[in-house]
């Protein structure tokens, strides 16, 4: 619903009459399932200027940085154990995104 709102607001600002495609970034660990997003998107844009537009989903891989040794690694299911020093203090650099990146309008 929020994706559709952002798209419609921005398209209106530009005086566009129709949104053709919408690109979103979805992090691996955002908790958002692309299939579910696609399914809801179709319903959310119905009846508005983004109806029938194409949803392009860019998956963002999860990257964690170890707080102890600085090693970057792909965390395993949010258990952020550094593979190098086995430290527990890694923080997430990317992978939690849910953002509208760009839209194509006319």
């Amino acid at each position: 619903m929020s994706v559709a709102q952002i798209v419609v607001e921005r398209a209106r600002e530009e005086g566009a009459s129709k949104a053709l495609s919408v690109t979103v970034e979805v992090g691996e660990l955002s908790g958002v399932t692309p299939e579910a997003l696609e399914f809801c998107y179709e319903a959310a844009v119905m009846g508005g200027l983004a109806e029938g537009s194409r949803l392009v989903i860019k998956r963002v891989p999860a990257v964690a940085v170890c707080g102890e040794c600085g090693e970057t690694f792909a965390p395993n299911e949010r258990i952020f154990v550094c593979p190098k020093c086995e430290g527990f203090t890694a923080s997430l650099k990317s992978g939690e995104e849910l953002a509208v990146i760009e839209i194509e309008v006319e």
Binding site: S2, I6, R10, A11, G31, E77, V100, E104, V105
Partner: protein, 220 residues
């Protein structure tokens, strides 16, 4: 003519903006706002009721209750004498920052040191919605699986404290408390863990001491 517009806007940006306003409001009043999250039936309401009853002689509480339907929980809170407002989310599975902002108007929080927000029982969506709270408190009962923290890691990762409830039932169960704590610490090494029984009072003192330090932190 078709053209491409760059947006780069976080989908939850609006929620986060309102959460920031809520946080400023809480801070300006020296209010420690805690967002209680758990699966349904873990014992959030019982923990809140007992906590208020045991501490109300020393500090004042206000409570926001979130449920899809009914005001049953709000009625239980009301009996403690604390101020309470019920939010029914109806079709929504979580509270969001705007619901909190709107409900703040119905609470006269003068004198309150704590605002307990009881979220909808759900370990998934509430993890993504900042309400402006000081911290999230995850509640998990010993009648659940020890691996809840690794099954729903995001929730345990964003929570600052974990209260394991119903420990009076341990003699009758195969639940391995140490294993559960281990899992929680794996997901979030900084999480503070309390093992309590609301029924017989076991372990509550540690939880209360922790709570009382929060109010000092908020009041500063």
């Amino acid at each position: 003519m078709a053209k491409t517009l760059e947006i780069r806007k976080n989908v939850l940006a609006k929620n986060d903006e309102i959460a920031r306003e809520n946080r400023e409001f809480f801070q300006s009043r020296g209010l420690a706002a805690l967002n209680f999250v758990s699966s349904p039936g873990a014992g959030k309401t019982s923990l809140i009721v007992r906590t208020i009853n045991d501490l109300k002689a020393r500090v004042n509480f206000a409570v926001i209750e979130g449920d899809q339907q009914t005001d049953n929980d709000a009625k239980k809170i009301e009996q403690t004498g604390a101020q309470v407002v019920q939010i029914n989310t109806v079709s929504s599975c979580h509270l969001d920052a705007d619901m909190i902002k709107k409900s703040l108007g119905s609470l006269d929080m003068d004198g309150a040191k704590y605002l307990f927000i009881e979220n909808v029982g759900n370990l998934v969506c509430p993890a993504s919605y900042d309400l402006g709270e000081m911290m999230k408190v995850a509640v998990m009962s010993v009648t659940e699986g020890e691996d809840k923290p690794v099954k729903y890691p995001k929730m345990f990762r964003v929570s600052s404290a974990l209260v394991i409830t119903k420990t009076d039932l341990l003699p009758y169960l195969d639940f391995d408390v140490d294993l559960a704590v281990d899992y929680a610490l794996k997901v979030n090494p900084a999480i503070k863990v309390f093992k309590v029984s609301v029924k017989n009072g076991e372990g509550l003192e540690g939880w209360y001491n922790f709570l009382l330090t929060l109010s000092d932190a908020a009041g500063r």
